[in-house]
Symmetry: C2
Subunit: 242 residues, 2 copies
Amino acid sequence: MRQTKREAFPALPPGFKSTFLDALTPREISALLQSARSITISPHEVLQQEGEPADRLWLLRTGRVAVYRLTRGGNKLFLRWGVPGDAFGFGTIVRAPAQYLVTIEAVQEASILAWNLATCQALISRYPGLSRGVNGSLSKYLDSIIDMFVMCQLQSSEERLARVLVESANQLGHAGPEGIEVDLKNEEVALAAHMSLFTASRHLSKWQRTGLLKKHRGKIVVPSLCPFEKDPFSLPIPGDPL
Amino acid sequence: MRQTKREAFPALPPGFKSTFLDALTPREISALLQSARSITISPHEVLQQEGEPADRLWLLRTGRVAVYRLTRGGNKLFLRWGVPGDAFGFGTIVRAPAQYLVTIEAVQEASILAWNLATCQALISRYPGLSRGVNGSLSKYLDSIIDMFVMCQLQSSEERLARVLVESANQLGHAGPEGIEVDLKNEEVALAAHMSLFTASRHLSKWQRTGLLKKHRGKIVVPSLCPFEKDPFSLPIPGDPL
DNA sequence: CGGATTCTTGACGAGAATCAAGAGTTGTGG
DNA sequence: CCACAACTCTTGATTCTCGTCAAGAATCCG
């Protein structure tokens, strides 16, 4: 119902849905959008880097981003994908002055709305619904991080990779002649599934031999036969490890 | 400054500090405390169980609790310690109707303030500062979970155990004749450090041989020589793995 | 055609879980 | 006060998963 109204906003793409805006009235959303600055970024561009002072709040309009932590060695530790409707940079309004605590990078061409620190502070004191939106978003992130943590602690590399493939197909995949195509390199899937490049390659090769999927350079194709419903890779996996 | 005022509340122990209450005025805190119910629980008692409908918001007054997830096999996946000032059960106010998504259990005798669902809803619409308190708490938890995740992905079992010991000594430890005593069984330390009982035992034995600590049944004693400042176990560990 | 990426595969080894057996500690009841 | 049971901890042997390294194959691009 409220969503129907929100679709009327020219600044937001049709079908746009955001936990972040859920607690706001259409009038408030309108005011929020007007005070935002619109940005476009390309794949591999970095939106925010952990450690930098947090002075911007973002709302992803279209496209996809990856959220990760950098290790001391400069490696990436994947945390989650960001999809349209996701907001980032909460440190800016929650515990200013703060620093970003994750790094965010585009994986697809993305369009973003941004508010600077001063605007955020003005908005937050004016619209209490904004705080509740932040609550909802933070709570969702917390949930998803806990899930990711549980996954990494309890599942084998094979299970993790399968899950990542299904999630990626859902979130980043697009229909192709042979099925759903996911434009990710082995390195990127491995990152998201928290395993080495080689382990990922081995599992993927095995699945390709079994005919579960087809691989190309920088792309994985899974047959579109109902893989959206249930994890198709959960079957070939031996006994439930729990 | 605000903290000085808060110490005046008879319902709160002296020195009590809580992110959750930080955004509220003394008057609001007073109202909040009056509408709370006070509870006491003993070690191993379960405060909330994941999956149950979230109908209570908690604030830990004194004592310690453990926050964890249950696996399908009934095993525990440790997430964090809860210390006085920590609040739990945010689902109750953030996305009602909700279910608890973690299990919380006392590890020490604990005293807790609780608000039921109806009260929460009344309070949340009345005091916008409450939302900001929730924001701060959620953001803190998110940060700590990410840290825990990073730790588990990048550090060896030895490093993790060392870190857990130091943290446990800080949070649960009490002074004894030979040093700081931590009343945890091997099984519990292993749980917190995310490793098997046996791996934990091996590392602890090794450290005991080196003289870094002393062990008893259900208790670990670390010499109180400045272990509060810096991780004393970081030294014997070989090259930095990153 | 090079040159740069990306991917594959095998060999090897480190780390940690599992299993098994037993030693040490605590508490209880006779 | 001792004997026994229950619990907790230790240690070694074994196994498994997965990361690392090395070498080379496949693909893409200028």
